[in-house]
Symmetry: C2
Subunit: 146 residues, 2 copies
DNA sequence: TTGTTAAAAGACATCAATGTCTTTATTAAA
DNA sequence: TTTAATAAAGACATTGATGTCTTTTAACAA
């Protein structure tokens, strides 16, 4: 029921950049890492994936940094699961049995399947924009402290 | 949405011992490890915890092994979560933020809380006996292959 | 009592996720 | 064109979960 740290870093970073880029333009890694209290270089690797996957854009050089693009706000959360390679959270058996499926269900199969399907639905239908609360004055605080 | 391997080993072992102990008496570690296709010595550590926690009993020496006790079949699945120290699956923030709670919710808080509560309820209400299907002739097969 | 069996315990190995540090590549500004 | 800023990439370290191997402890049987 737990996703990786990388997942959390990725989602929080996108929310951070989305929220901050209204005031400022591009946000450098340094600032994201400080703002979210996250290890800088490790975050760098996560950001790289976000850019490769097209969720964010980046630019090198002076005044460079990360910024949102046309798809950023419409990104469903399940994309962050793909990013961190945790897709099996929605597929694989809770007991980690290989040949557990509808035809050969493990004792937990049906109970777990319902709950997993609900998670998958939430993560497929919820978009980044749904998590952005621009009315909340201290929105950044809600994603800041690790 | 994923629990540890230890969790799976523990639950499957208890189901295995419960099912097998009808025919035979005590089940030695060796046989459980073979029957479930699980690394023997690692399983030994998991079994030790199951005994310490009172979910199973054990006896050393010739004809010894693991066997069920009065509480085994009435054990709720959440006990296996306690065993493997994964309680935070039901408590902690999906984004792993420390100060995320009802008063300072992260953007994922409410969505995740509902789903986590449902998992917790299933794991609290489902007992080992609910997963034992004695009518199914090849019940062991359903928990056997890793 | 002695030997054998099996759980319990401990020491170490492996692996993946995470984290740190350094180097390279690219872009804008001077 | 040179320099500085910044993302990208790579090498290595750390840590916790998992796995293997050996030693110790306890219980039954001969």
């Amino acid at each position: 029921m737990f996703f990786s740290k990388s997942f959390g870093y990725a989602l929080r970073s996108v929310l951070y950049v989305s929220a901050e880029s209204e005031k400022q333009g591009k946000i450098p890694l340094e600032k994201i890492a400080e703002g979210l209290n996250v290890p800088r270089h490790f975050l760098g690797k996560v950001m790289k994936k976000l850019v490769k996957q097209g969720i964010l854009s980046s630019q090198k050089g002076p005044n460079g940094g990360f910024f949102i693009n046309d798809s950023t706000l419409q990104t469903p959360l399940i994309q962050f699961i793909h990013l961190t390679g945790e897709d099996d959270h929605f597929k694989s058996c809770v007991l980690r049995l290989r040949n557990c499926d509808a035809s050969r269900p493990c004792p937990m199969h049906s109970r777990a399947e319902q709950l997993r399907d609900q998670w998958e639905e939430v993560f497929s239908k919820t978009l980044v924009s749904d998590l952005l609360n621009k009315d909340q004055p201290n929105y950044i605080d809600s994603i800041a402290i690790l």
